[in-house]
Point group: C2
């Protein structure tokens, strides 16, 4: 049920909170450090940062901001999941905003694997929480693929 999935996802995100404090800023950078270290091939989507190491991310003002944007986006997914029409509208808006990056459509589902890998570095994820994220990611991806088709993308 969507309310229980939302509850579990939101609880796990307490370990990766957005905010202006040093530790919140670091949580955002840590996502990109994890991402670029473990999925270096996907750096091609970050123009100018195609060869960035974790150290480069750590020192980067761009990824300081980008880290907060990314975390905020995921928090919004969890916060809206119990209200499926709002959740799906946010999925469509996210797809629209990424149009310019010409991403492989398969990456939308893959994102949740990456994000859960990152989240597992911050907190212990039990099976119920992993399943909740898998379900949220599945619903996200269904709406994303539908919207990509409807938009001719």
């Amino acid at each position: 049920m969507s309310a229980e999935i939302a509850r579990l996802c939101k609880a796990s995100l307490q370990s990766a909170m957005v905010g202006t404090d040093e530790n919140n800023i670091q949580s955002g950078k840590d996502f990109y450090k994890f991402f670029f270290t473990n999925y270096p091939d996907l750096r091609i989507y970050f123009k100018g940062a195609e060869k960035f190491t974790a150290d480069d991310v750590q020192k980067s003002e761009r990824f300081e901001k980008q880290g907060q944007r990314l975390l905020l986006g995921v928090h919004i997914l969890a916060e809206t999941y119990a209200n499926q029409e709002v959740f799906k509208a946010y999925v469509r808006e996210t797809i629209n905003r990424h149009r310019i990056y010409k991403m492989d459509p398969a990456l939308w589902l893959a994102f949740f694997t990456v994000f859960n890998g990152y989240l597992a570095t911050k907190t212990q994820l039990d099976d119920a929480t992993k399943n909740a994220w898998a379900e949220l990611g599945k619903v996200f991806n269904e709406e994303a693929q539908t919207h990509l088709k409807n938009s001719g993308l």
Copy 2:
């Protein structure tokens, strides 16, 4: 308390739901029809639409999309309000995205008067709900003004 404010705001937004159906699309257009009719001076912030009438909005693909974006943004405010750090992060992100429009900072608080006027055309707003929106708007505005100052805007 933030959870009760969120509950009231979310309930009132059921009458202005986002979505891909005709009535959802219309709800978004209706915001801009209301806005431009009642606050024509603020059309200056919409380049190319400075003289738009309600009829122009009705026929406009731009405001069909913009209407959904606007409604989604307000839904996200209500959905995140019970989680104040996420709410405030979304406020900051919203300010960042509007930087290019060089808005009068006073308009951030004024927006909630406009939006409640629109919402009152869709549903009966009782005093508790009006107070809830006023409080949400106040907290939004506090974070907005702080962020504008911190960003040198």
